[in-house]
Amino acid sequence: MRKPAGLRGLALPLVGAGALAILPFVGASPFTITLLTESLIFAIWAMSLDLLVGYTGLVSFGHAAAFGLAAYAAGYFAREVTGDFFAALLVAEAVVVPVALGFGFVVARVSGIAFAVISLCIAQVLFTIAVTWRAVTNGMDGLVGVPLPKVAGITLASGNAFYLLTVLCLVAVYLWLTRLVDSPFGRTLQAIRTNEERAASIGIDVYRHKWLAFVLSWAVAGLAGTLMVFLKAGTTPMSLHWTESGNVLIMTIFGGIGTLLGPVIGSTVFVFVRDEFTTRFKAWQFVFGLVFVVVVLLFPTGLVGAVNRIRGFLWRARS
């Protein structure tokens, strides 16, 4: 039984957005804002992956493909033509969506491990192209010289300004995705995740739904890639590498799949924890792995699940 979305569904994202937006003005340190900007960009990316993994049941090992492709397209356009953010975003989507349509056509035929591995292969092929097509991508050195982004003619020169743009994008994506997963389309995806064969047997066009979910997830990832290329003033082939795909998968599952909030929390925790660990510990890999293992073992539904469990526990303890 699901409660109607209505006004209640708006409360959390709007309050959350408000809280995020006022942070720079209530004393958060500039570096915290920097890290948060990065976290929220990853959050958008992770939510797009959750659409595939949590709602459609398709685990992708190559989600960096969408992200990196958008980064290169948007970055190249921004450097050569104009740094207008929305124009660059449009260009990025104009590249990402057709590519997703093409790959999705092929990859929507399969599921499970085959899907995971083919998505990995796609990303690695794009990675190789980025490294070898030096004329356009500048090879391993990467795309440099992306200018500051402009919105409606105003250059977003400060970290805070760009942060607010990111918050805006995050909220917009979150609202849109919550509507989407509650819609008939979204419910169908979840039916496919639960049992693909049974869904097919009741007449659902599984292939077409998977294909569309794939394209949509790439499109949203494209927004994240565009934001990132402006934040870093460039990109390299590493943004397409399987280790990046691994990172976003970790963030999504860590946070809790099948809940759009999970990826948001997962990304933020991941970015902040990684930053703290890599500074503090020379053996950060060990500590990182340990924390990871502990969370996976103890909190099967991710951090969001953990929070819910603790809340439930407290509620029970009280009564």
Binding site: V53, V59, V106, V107, R109, V110, S111, G112, I113, A114, V117, I118, L120, C121, I122, Q124, V125, T128, I129, V131, T132, W242, G246, I250, I253, K282, A283, W284, Q285, F286, V287, F288, G289, L290, V291, F292, V293, V296, L297, P300
Partner: protein, 291 residues
């Protein structure tokens, strides 16, 4: 570029294929048996290499005794990992064992760096097999050929074990139909622990065997993990003969591809794997369980 060049690459590819097979067998067995995707397989491979170096340096053993001892040291570590991190979550969807082994691999590599440092250690080729031999006008290091032969021998022994022994029968039964096997009295939990340990031993042996060729360093397992993964997927998870074909396919593509199109060779491999999977999602030779 002529036939001689093709020949050289084919032989090198076959050599790497044998080596990759040894590494991939464990991965395939563990997945087939328990649907566990062991992301820490590469880290266990690395532990084998470090075990070899530690045993040779600290205990003063020669290369060959160390080659036997190192995997034996890794097996208990693997069993402990399986008991603590994998067994408790076996009932959950497969993605979780992949995640937990991902975390474990970080822990193992981090621990290696902490204990042994981040430097690379070169291991000398054992004198018995030093030098090269000329085959059809091409020079090949004797050690590589010897290591390939040993890999094939051990792999063959594993095949035989799975095919002809009672435990092997249990393994095949559980791989085919775990529910039925349990009903017939097979203790799948204990079997998985044992097989996981054995798989780690094989990976560790491969790491130690490869040390004179690829050197010993903390990240030594990640490249071969990806190759092994591809090999096993291509062959069909849990399908041992399939893994053999998958391993040689991956190795030959890399070798011949590397020889002819160097920078694109990696892309060629991935395109071929993707195409294969689109047409045969359960692997080229997968049967029974749908991927």
């Amino acid at each position: 570029m002529d036939l001689s060049f093709l020949f050289a690459n084919t032989v090198n590819g076959a050599v790497y294929g044998a080596f990759l097979l040894l590494t991939s067998l464990g991965l395939s067995l563990v997945f087939g048996l328990g649907r566990v995707v062991n992301f820490a397989h590469g880290a266990l491979y690395a532990l084998g290499g470090y075990g070899l170096v530690a045993v040779m340096q600290r205990l003063g053993l020669g290369f060959w005794p160390a080659l036997v001892v190192a995997p034996l040291l890794v097996v208990p570590i693997a069993i402990a990992i399986e008991r603590v991190t994998i067994q408790p979550i076996r009932s959950r969807p497969e993605i979780y064992t992949l995640l937990v082994t991902f975390g474990v691999s970080f822990m193992v590599i981090g621990a290696i760096e902490y204990v042994f440092g981040t430097a690379t250690t070169l291991v000398e080729v054992p004198r018995l097999f030093a030098g090269t031999v000329v085959i059809v006008g091409n020079e090949f290091p004797i050690y590589r050929l010897a290591a390939a032969a040993l890999s094939l021998a051990v792999s063959g022994a594993v095949f035989a074990f799975v095919q002809f022994t009672p435990i092997g029968l249990q393994i095949r039964a559980v791989t085919d139909d775990p529910g039925m096997a349990e009903a017939l009295g097979v203790n799948t939990t204990r079997l998985l622990t044992l097989v996981f340990g054995a798989a780690a031993g094989l990976a560790a042996l491969a790491g130690a065997l490869g040390a004179p060729i690829f050197a010993v360093h903390p990240e030594m397992g990640s490249g071969i993990l990806l190759d092994a993964f591809l090999a096993v997927i291509l062959g069909g998870l849990g399908n041992l003969p399939g893994s053999a074909i998958g391993a040689f396919f991956v190795a030959l593509t890399k070798s011949i591809g590397g020889g002819y199109v160097a920078d694109w060779s990696i892309a060629v491999l991935f395109v071929l794997v993707a195409i294969a999977l689109v047409f045969r999602p359960t692997g080229l030779f997968g049967r029974g369980r749908v991927a």
